[in-house]
């Protein structure tokens, strides 16, 4: 962004402004854009979800306000703004008031490191990935405050559930990303995307391979398993079905939002949908190459970049448009998958949720890290790293070997863990003698 602002102010207008002012202006513009986009887009995510799930239920969905219900979200927004704001007398007024802000703010922070297209990232932190998840964990505090401040049994239980769920599902999410980070060797999101160029996984640097922007991690066994684990964890983080236990309406009426009304409730809603969007976006960035896609790399090579200052600005625009198109297509595709799952499944119980996270996902992701290490060793290392026997192999053989080994490892681990987990789950259903024996001892 600074490049563009610099271009406009210093090059075309010729005012020699100091670069810090340019940087300030650039960042202010970006921040304004993001803060404008996020809520607006959340509104339309709700419409998108309602229409899609209605289709899945052989219905039509909201189609009255405006053409095809386009303005339905705006109507909802007006309604939620004009609703009365009710605060329970027993509530802790200040905490009750601040909690929604504490929940919303982190989701807005997370936009700071989200790349939208080639060279279109607000801040290229070299720890972007870590930053993303660190900030996302802050909103748990807000949920806790909300549940505690509204002094309501349902709200407190909901907050406890929400926090426990978020904290325990951050582990598989981060572990599954760790495998990817092992392969790329960097925590920078931009670096992660650049790594996914090329024709297939980890072939960006190999010469004589065209850059089609298709080297997505999803095409490798490691990436695939990591994707499954991460997406499940993302569902839990975003409190989507089948993990929407914190606001399980059939048990605890609305969870930590029970005592909220009007725009405070709206803020929780906004935070949840923005978080969902961000999780879909990060999924598409990490495993599906973000803005990577056929053509973007080539266009961006011709564009004005710090690498080649003498390029055509037209290519900037084209690459940006194409990249953002790819990125948003993937992101909304993942949101559709979220809606799809919501339309298909029931909700897990809280202890089953914990069992699934701790007894199934975390072992799976640990195995995945191991196979990621194998992948890196077989594709990257050589004698220097003490892996001499792979030196002689041709790159294709090494790649095939890595693929086969990791595939076998992950598949075996998945089946094994699935069997173990299924057996551990239905011990209460078949009333075995051992269960009854220990019951007799208890009784």
């Amino acid at each position: 962004m600074q490049d563009v602002v610099n271009q406009v102010i210093n090059t075309s207008f010729g005012w020699g402004w100091p670069s810090w002012a340019i940087a300030l202006i650039g960042y202010l513009i970006v921040a304004a854009l993001l803060f404008g986009i996020a809520p607006f887009q959340m509104l339309f995510l709700t419409l998108y979800e309602r229409r899609a799930i209605a289709r899945m239920q052989d219905r039509i969905g909201p189609n009255r306000v405006g053409p095809e219900g386009m303005f339905q979200p705006l109507a909802d927004g007006v309604k939620i703004f004009t609703k009365e704001d009710i605060v329970p007398t027993a509530a802790d007024q200040w905490v009750h008031f601040i909690a929604p802000c504490v929940v919303v703010a982190p989701t807005m922070f997370m936009f700071a490191v989200l790349p939208w297209g080639p060279g279109m990232v607000p801040v290229d932190m070299n720890l972007g990935l870590l930053f993303f998840f660190a900030i996302s964990s802050v909103s748990a505090v807000g949920l806790m405050m909300a549940g505690w401040a509204s002094s309501n049994k349902f709200a407190l239980v909901g907050a406890m559930r929400a926090v426990a769920q978020m904290v325990s599902y951050e582990i598989p999410a981060v572990l599954s990303l760790l495998a990817i980070v092992l392969v790329t060797g960097s925590l920078s999101i931009v670096e992660l995307i650049n790594y996914q160029g090329g024709l297939f996984i980890s072939t960006r640097d190999v010469a004589s391979v065209p850059d089609w922007g298709l080297g997505w991690f999803i095409f490798s066994p490691v990436g695939f398993l990591a994707f499954i684990a991460f997406f499940i964890a993302a569902l839990a983080e975003g409190e989507r079905t089948p993990f929407d236990i914190p606001e399980a309406d059939s048990e605890i009426v609305a969870g930590y939002m029970t005592e909220y009304s009007g725009m405070k409730f709206g803020l929780f809603y906004l935070a949840q949908y923005v978080l969902n969007f961000l999780l879909c976006a990060i999924t598409s960035i990490i495993f599906f190459g973000g803005w990577q896609g056929p053509g973007v790399g080539w266009l961006y090579a011709q564009a004005i970049t710090p690498v080649n200052p003498q390029g055509g600005w037209v290519f900037n625009v084209l690459a940006g448009v194409l990249g953002v198109f790819y990125f948003l297509t993937k992101t909304y595709g993942f949101f559709f998958v979220m809606v799809w799952i919501r339309g298909a499944y029931a909700r897990l119980r809280i202890d089953q949720l914990m069992d699934f996270g701790w007894k199934f996902l975390i072992p799976l992701t640990l195995v995945n890290i191991f196979s990621a290490a194998i992948w890196v060793g077989l594709t990257k290392w050589g004698a220097a790293d003490g892996l001499a026997f792979v030196e002689g192999w041709s790159p294709l053989v090494r790649w095939a070997a890595a693929f086969g080994v990791t595939l076998a490892l992950n598949l075996g681990a998945y089946l094994f863990l699935a069997r173990i987990f299924a057996q551990s789950q239905d011990e209460r259903a078949r009333q075995d003698d051992d269960v009854l024996e220990q019951l007799t001892n208890v009784a």
Binding site: A52, R55, D58, I341
Partner: protein, 375 residues
């Protein structure tokens, strides 16, 4: 294990134990939902399909109502004769489970005998459970179930339906349920003719059909004119008697309207005498009118309010019109007492007609009142 019995057996449901559950069931569920999503861009129009949207966007498109659909009971009347099929036989009132039907049977104003018609027929729609028993038991097929279902209102009292609001024409009912009407048509019409024969005066005519009522009155007047002698001798000859007593009233109706219209011009009694003179009633009537004119000054003020209403057709609008006229007349009562009271004087030719006038006045006032609070 299945144990055979004579017809069919007992099957123990198979829980599919021991097969590895590694997410294939979840994928199946996704598949089903996807099929519905993909198929939902067509419309699911017939019963043999399970895919496609089956939403009916209500205000624009509505499902066709089956003939047997029953929502709220209504009363039928015959289009050409204008007579209601209801005879006030109380069958529906007896069968109604929530007891929301209230009937007042008509009486002959002359003889006071029961007439096969209902002067008032009330159904409390707000308490009706639309079970359809009233329509089933009605021996004259007069009460039928309507298909109108948009009855919601903020005013609960407005859901207490009187006869004037319950009346529907047979053509309307054949429009919504031709088959059901075809089954019962012959018998219903035969019974209707039977009950029409036994209905004097305008009793049993649907109140909304003013022109029919006028026509009926005129033909009654003609009948009366055909038998003046019978009328002169006020012997109670059954069919002619009401006619004879009605004709002057009929004329006085026009007269009252005219009077009330130009009362402020202070019309001279001369035009007032004229119609009285040429009324079919003989000299007795004129003499009587003169006497009334002499001592009606005191009764002038209340009288006009009564008279035009009494003479107006039972139709609600006319009733209101009459009420307005009455008000005007009352204003003019002091200005030109003579002009008004002559209008009165002609009306009550004898006691029975006066009573009839009173009844009509009451009904008309009721109608006017509730028309007022319905609008």
């Amino acid at each position: 294990m299945t144990t055979e019995t004579q017809h069919g057996s007992v099957i123990v449901m198979d829980r599919r134990r021991g097969k590895l559950r590694a997410g294939q069931g979840l994928l199946q569920g996704l598949r089903v939902v996807w099929d519905h999503w993909a198929g939902s861009f067509r419309k699911n129009d017939n019963f043999s399909k399970i895919h496609g949207t089956f939403t009916v966007e209500y205000p624009e498109e509505r499902l066709p109502m089956p003939q047997a659909y029953r929502n709220m009971p209504v009363l039928l009347f015959d289009d050409e004769s204008g007579h209601e099929l209801c005879t006030g036989c109380y069958q529906c009132q007896r069968i109604c489970p929530p007891q929301v039907i209230h009937i007042t049977q008509a009486k002959d104003p002359v003889t006071g005998k029961m007439v096969p018609a209902a002067t008032e027929f009330i159904i409390e729609y707000d308490a009706c459970m639309s079970c359809g028993f009233c329509a089933e038991v009605c021996p004259f097929d007069s009460i039928k179930m309507d298909h109108v279902y948009e009855l919601s209102t903020a005013n609960r009292a407005a859901l207490t339906m009187r006869k004037a609001q319950l009346n529907r024409s047979i053509s309307y009912y054949t429009g919504i349920a031709p088959g059901l009407w075809a089954e019962v048509q012959a018998g219903a019409m035969k019974k209707l003719q039977g009950s029409i024969k036994r209905r004097p005066d305008v009793i049993g005519l649907a109140a909304s059909l003013t022109e029919k009522i006028k026509a009926r009155r005129l033909e009654l007047a003609a009948a009366a004119a055909a038998a003046p002698a019978a009328a002169a001798v006020s012997a109670p000859a059954a069919p002619a008697a009401p006619a004879a007593k009605l004709t002057p009233e009929e004329k006085a109706a026009k007269l009252a309207a005219m009077k009330a219209a130009n009362a402020n011009k202070g019309a001279a009694p001369a035009p007032a005498e004229a119609p009285v003179a040429l009324s079919p009633a003989d000299a007795k009537a004129a003499k009587l009118a003169a006497i009334k004119a002499a001592n009606a000054n005191k009764g002038a003020a209340p009288a006009p309010a009564e008279a035009p209403v009494a003479l107006s057709p039972a139709d609600a609008k006319a009733a209101k019109l009459a009420a307005i006229k009455a008000a005007n007349a009352a204003k003019q009562a002091e200005a030109a007492p003579v002009s008004v009271e002559t209008a009165v004087a002609t009306a009550p030719l004898d006691a029975k007609a006066a009573r009839l006038a009173a009844i009509k006045a009451a009904n008309a006032a009721k109608l006017a009142a509730e028309q007022g609070n319905n609008e």
